[in-house]
């Protein structure tokens, strides 16, 4: 049953990074869009995230609940030593969620919209940045439970160049996912080529920040290269991620938009696999060489089995509904698209 629980932990993290990430990315893309193109970008982005955004928080909550029920030591270690970045990430989540809702549900559309929008942009950038930073801290051996001063215990446990690089990389991935997902929401050629341009720009950012991650890992003595490339699985994951990049470019060129989405999601999963498989099932690596493992540091057997069943039961209830929800809205948007621009159909 422990593998079921770990599987769900993985699933919820992946879905949070992909769906939630696209969600955050929408704000990042808007933030870095020229004023001229902003209204258009905003409409397209909004169309692509509107129906399911409320559900996206849940992937994170599920991951957190799995951690504190099934892996309490992991949860308490994270929340003790990474208290500060977690709070910063929370601020991002709160500000973003509420700003988005308010932007959408405020009955009067006036100058307040600009305020909500600004908050929405910056929190969209901050949240994935800190998410990346926290993820980096779990494997960079920077958490030192034996330290005796505030700085080493609670600040340098997460503040280092590698963390910053991973944070930037995560934000870039979010922006990339958002622009890719938005491709299918465009309603005419002009919009489509605008978004393709954006996808290519964000792709460049992903590559640059990715290189930055390896570089900072190298200068901070984190054996990232070894982790990723020492075993066939890592090499294969990296290979697939790179191949997908080429395929995505090709598919965008011939305007096959559905595979582009699938490939981008697949790419992100491959990146996650490449970064974590080597030290799996160890989820937190401490500076003193010890670690917390998803197979050893676990709750009592009855708890794990109850948690596993709760998760299985939950997904039986949720997933069909969620897919039906997504399906209904994409169908509805397709109809909208057809009625809106019958003279310039998308290939």
């Amino acid at each position: 049953m422990i593998y079921v629980v770990i599987g769900f932990l993985w699933l919820s993290i992946c879905l949070y990074v992909i769906l939630g990430g696209a969600d955050f990315g929408a704000g990042i893309v808007e933030l870095f869009t020229k004023d001229k193109n902003r209204p258009k970008t905003q409409t397209i982005m909004y169309e692509s995230i509107a129906p399911v955004w409320e559900a996206n928080h849940m992937w994170l909550i599920i991951a957190i609940v799995i951690l504190f029920v099934g892996f309490p030591e992991v949860y308490t270690t994270l929340s003790t030593y990474l208290h500060i970045p977690l709070v910063l990430m929370l601020i991002g989540i709160i500000a973003r969620g509420t700003a988005f809702t308010f932007r959408h549900y405020d009955a009067v559309k006036d100058e307040w919209q600009a305020v909500y929008t600004q908050i929405f942009y910056f929190s969209s950038l901050l949240t994935p940045f800190f998410l990346g930073l926290i993820a980096a801290a779990t494997i960079s051996r920077s958490i030192n439970p034996n330290a005796d001063n505030f700085l080493d215990l609670y600040i340098f446990s997460w503040l280092n160049w590698f963390g910053v690089a991973v944070g930037l990389f995560t934000a870039s991935i979010c922006a990339y996912l958002a622009s890719i997902f938005a491709l299918r929401e465009t309603i005419d050629r002009m919009e489509l080529s605008l978004m393709i341009k954006k996808s290519k720009q964000t792709m460049i950012f992903v590559v640059i920040t990715g290189i930055l991650v390896f570089f900072t890992a190298y200068i901070s003595d984190i054996p990232l290269v070894m982790w990723v490339f020492s075993k066939p699985l890592g090499i294969m994951a990296t290979f697939f991620a790179t191949i997908s990049l080429g395929l995505i470019l090709r598919a965008m060129h011939i305007r096959k938009l559905l595979p582009v989405r699938a490939l981008a999601g697949f790419q992100v999963i491959m990146i996650l696999v490449a970064a974590t498989y080597q030290h799996n099932p160890n989820i937190i690596l401490f500076s003193n060489g010890q670690h917390l493992s998803l197979l050893e540091h676990i709750a009592a057997p009855k708890t794990i089995s109850a948690l596993g069943w709760a998760l299985i039961l939950g997904s039986v209830f949720i997933l069909p509904f969620l897919f039906y929800l997504m399906f209904s809205f994409s169908k509805q948007r397709r109809q909208l698209k057809e009625t809106a621009k019958p003279e310039t159909p998308i290939k």
Binding site: E54, H83, V87, I93
Partner: protein, 449 residues
Amino acid sequence: MDDFLAARAQMAMSLGFHIIFSCVGMVMPFLMAFAHWKYLKTKNEVYKGLTKAWSKGVAILFATGAVSGTMLSFELGLLWPSFMKHAGPIFGMPFSLEGTAFFIEAIAIGFFLYGWDRFNKWFHWFCGFLVGVSGLASGILVVAANAWMNSPAGFDYVNGQYLNIDPIKAMFNDAWFSQALHMTVAAFCATGFAVAGVHAYLILKKKNVEFHTKAFRIAAGFALIGAFGAPLTGDTAAKSVAERQPIKLAAMEAHFETEKGAAFIIGGIPDEEKGEVKYAIKIPKVLSFLVSNDFNHEVKGLNDFPRDEWPPVAVVHYAFQTMIFFGVVMIIIGTIYLYSLFFKKEWLDRRWLLKTFLIAMPFGYIALEAGWTVTEVGRQPWIIYGIMRTVDAVTPMPGIQYSFYFFTAVFFSLSLVIAFLLTRQIKMVPRLYDPNDPQFNPNAKNKKS
């Protein structure tokens, strides 16, 4: 401010706000579904407008409840890591189920808000109703987890070790039913009064009178159920407390000496040092009767317990008195309303009745927060009653006061913005929601003219 106090203050404040957001988010969908049902039955467009107006309230509160809930799931660990390390695997079960309930709620809201004229009308109605049902389920599950802190179960505590953990038994602990029942009814009461108060105000202002009268009647109906349900379920809760946490009951009543035929103490100023209550009204034997249905039952007093296990007596006592006071006021208002519904229909439109409801707008939430204070402060100094002290659970990280200031600022601004947004929704009623208003034009670009 010392870190322990700051951590407690932050937790209390976060929960204090979250309770309001989530209770409104839990009950509003039922108001909405009721108005929707009326619309489907009567085809009266006013009910449709009302449903839409309330659904916006649901969406706003749902979103804020979701973020404050996300914050809490982190705060538990950020502030109380030692507690979560041991308690997480034992009392976490309701949280993992709550994830499902919450997810269903989110999906149902998605269907409901975007589903007008797109789905079968009864399926659409059912989605709205499902929002309420799953919200209610979430609420009950979270209260069950809280109840475990008051009534730990599902493990054996041997030499500081938590053995034989059974999360299902932990979930169905002795307190979950009475606590969840009372909380649910109180949520209906509080939200009913709050919503009724808002609409009463708008009727008094003579704005969209028909629209707001329909809204007021529905909300007042819910308030009525809550007002009469609260004392009944409260009685069950009090009996359960008397059995499980006699010291909490003693603190609620500022009852110092153990005695048979204990008096029910109303008001007064408890003096912990001297062990007495000044200026209180004492009704002989009633406390004994309330907790056991026997006028001569023995009720344990605070003096029977070690001093270092007392909760802050004055806080718990005042909170309890506040809850009772507002509860009684709401029963009186409810009785008047019920009487006018059946015997004096003409009273229903009288200004004094509406004014009463306007004044009573916050009463439900005051009572709810007071009751929550009784439950939580009354549990102190324990975080897991009888097992782990709150002071042993707090995070080792210093400087929590800054975190407290910060979160306080966040919650206050969040509440201000919600109030602001809801006011703006209300201002737009003539144009967006009331079909009988000359300004009604929901499809126009609603820019400020």
